[in-house]
Symmetry: C2
Subunit: 214 residues, 2 copies
DNA sequence: CTTTATATTGACCGATTGGTCGGGCGCCGC
DNA sequence: GCGGCGCCCGACCAATCGGTCAATATAAAG
């Protein structure tokens, strides 16, 4: 369909994967037909079956590639240097930016996680979770042993809170944009800066911080 | 099919809606066939079309009912009395408990929000969001004017953080259960208690809370 | 009993689905 | 020239899809 005949190695396969990734990220598995994928890729439907035995295998390949890419993308956001507080600030910002940079990948993998009806590759899609989560927990723990952070909170709980804040922002920003009270829907960096600041300092004025335990 | 002939008003309609709700909450729109709904409801497929003009209308009716129920359920979790801090604690716990009590409703509505490909009723599904979000913002603002909470944070941002913490927990608890560091995957009350405590007091030891602004 | 309106159904429709098949096209070794 | 071989396609398949329709069962109203 008027495409440039790029003669890269495995070009046909990549074309199919790219087309399928785009469609599967927008609509659910059953809502994407092999015909639509072929059309998007600019090839015939029968040709897809030259590279993939069936639709499930194609979907699995797409999910595998997306999960791998997303995993790498998110891992790159974790490593940083400086004080634990700086690392947390850096992580929050980079992690959310990574999500927003490749929304197709996130939606693809996250939909698989949420789907209870047909768990095609749940435990596989959860891989990206493990690295980031455990890395973040490690950062928080090191902050605790160094005395930079309180020792009386659960690191895994805070890690969940931070990841949840970013994922929820990613999922809900279209809704949040409608609310006048929300000024950060299009300012992910500002959002994360505010989140981390609140997490670090707390909501309670310091003078009365000890009266809350009543 | 051997069912008791309950002669309630609109019983047939309710049966269809219940069956469709169950199936639509597990699988996506295109993955649920009218045949499957009829089978689940114990009636014939043609009979569904006596109550609903087409599949979209049925799905919309299911989504409308689910959204309405979820909205009421979540609103009931908001109202409370006592200090602002107490209200926040109560809200977090009740909100998450409401999500976990009716997971089908949450999944149904949330899937509609996440789907970018076929926005059948997005703005409609977002209704439940508005009430809870604005109510929570109002609580936080009142806490600020009363001096119970800091005045230098964005209430909408904290509301997003709290809602996100609960929604993310709801979505990810099956994953979180796999991690040994997470002891709260099956303890939503403990999770929210920890979340609120961290939000209120912050991660930084109070003695060094003023050195972080560097 | 008859009329009338609502429920309910099996049989059927055209369209689309995932998947198959036989063959054509182009390129490389011989 | 020519025989393979990877790539690609139009045509086709049975199954299922959403949806229609004529016919029946049911039950209240006259």
């Amino acid at each position: 369909m008027g495409e440039l005949p790029l003669t890269l190695e495995g070009e046909g396969r990549q074309r199919i994967l790219a087309a399928a990734e785009k469609l599967f990220s927008d609509k659910a598995f059953d809502a994407v037909s092999m015909n639509a994928i072929a059309l998007q890729a600019g090839i015939s439907k029968a040709n897809i079956y030259h590279y993939f035995p069936n639709k499930d295998a194609l979907y699995l390949a797409v999910l595998r590639a997306a999960s791998r890419n997303l995993r790498k993308l998110l891992n790159d956001a974790v490593d940083a240097h400086g004080t634990v507080v700086d690392v947390l600030r850096h992580f929050a910002r980079c992690h959310l930016q990574a999500l927003l940079d490749r929304p197709e990948l996130v939606r693809l993998v996250w939909r698989e996680i949420l789907e209870k009806g047909a768990p095609r590759a749940q435990e596989f899609a959860e891989q990206g979770f493990a690295d980031v989560f455990s890395a973040l927990v490690a950062v928080l723990e090191s902050g605790q042993v160094r005395g930079e952070l309180r020792a009386d909170f659960n690191p895994a709980l805070v890690a969940t809170l931070m990841l949840g804040a970013n994922v929820f922002f990613f999922q809900s920003r279209d809704i949040l944009r409608h609310y006048p009270a929300v000024g950060f829907a299009d300012d992910p960096a500002g959002y994360d800066a505010g989140i981390v600041e609140i997490l670090l300092r707390g909501l309670i004025p310091e003078s009365s911080a000890d009266t809350v335990r009543a």
